[in-house]
């Protein structure tokens, strides 16, 4: 299986027009909610991207894989999931940029985990994640925000 080189959520990914080099803007490690309490279901209107870069071995050239990015809270079911298929080309690395239009609905604050899994296309089961990335959702009371 290809090896993950980079797995990072960020505000935006920019791909250079000429050299196609990737730049990550504002790498995230969490989100601050400016509210007194999380309502029953809160969907932060915050657009973010997840950047993954894979490195393949020589025998994996031309093969198609699927990556799965999911967001979970503790051991609960994923509240966010995206599966993207990609074919390893001649280049030894492949980059997948997943743009999420907003955060999924949150019901709790605390540490959410982004997970990254990979499988060959056609396989039915997802192996254990090859990478995880914690995202801290913290609450900042509005009163505190106003003082600042």
């Amino acid at each position: 299986m290809p090896k993950p080189l980079i797995f990072a959520p960020c505000e935006r990914v920019i791909i250079g027009m000429g050299d196609q080099a990737a730049s990550l803007i504002v790498i995230l490690h969490g989100l601050q909610m400016h509210a007194d309490a999380i309502p029953p279901e809160l969907t932060p209107l915050y657009r973010f991207s997840v950047f993954t870069q894979w490195h393949r071995s020589p025998e994996e050239e031309g093969k198609t894989f699927e990556q799965r990015v999911a967001m979970v809270y503790e051991n609960e079911s994923p509240i966010l999931e995206n599966i993207t298929a990609f074919k390893m080309t001649e280049s030894t690395t492949y980059r997948v940029i997943t743009n999420f239009q907003k955060f999924p609905a949150l019901t709790k604050y605390g540490e959410y985990i982004l997970t990254l899994s990979i499988r060959a296309q056609g396989e039915s089961a997802w192996p254990i994640p090859v990478a995880t990335y914690p995202l801290a959702i913290t609450l900042v009371p509005k009163a505190t925000t106003q003082v600042q």
């Binding site: 995230l28 209107l45 743009n99 239009q101």
Partner: protein, 109 residues
């Protein structure tokens, strides 16, 4: 002083593209390969074969080096379809209500 390759657009040939000098990018031997074949035909053939870096002695300019991008960047015409890129960008719609709450990212330090 550097010289551009008229076949692939590589801009750092250390010798002019003549007198049997070889481009490290596309491998064209000038004065031999282009004796009876046009540069455009050589370019098309190189691109159709995957636009692979030729030289073992001269490394690629960077790990994201791409022959099609190099040719395009040099403004050289070609007649073969470009391959898929080495990256994919997908847009994901997230279900759920749009609750207008102020949010602020915590940046990685």
């Amino acid at each position: 002083m550097y010289y551009p390759c008229p076949v692939c657009g590589y801009g750092q040939m250390t010798e002019p593209p003549e007198n049997y000098n070889i481009c490290p990018s596309c491998g064209t031997e000038f004065g031999y390969h282009d004796l009876s074949t046009s540069h455009r035909s050589l370019r098309n053939k190189w691109l159709a074969n995957g636009a692979k870096w030729f030289s073992f002695a001269t490394p690629k300019p960077d790990i994201y080096w791409n022959g099609f991008v190099q040719v395009t960047g040099a403004g050289l015409p070609y007649d073969v379809p470009a391959p898929s890129d080495s990256f994919k960008e997908v847009e994901v719609t997230v279900p759920g209500s749009d609750t207008p709450e102020m949010t602020q990212p915590c940046q990685s330090r």
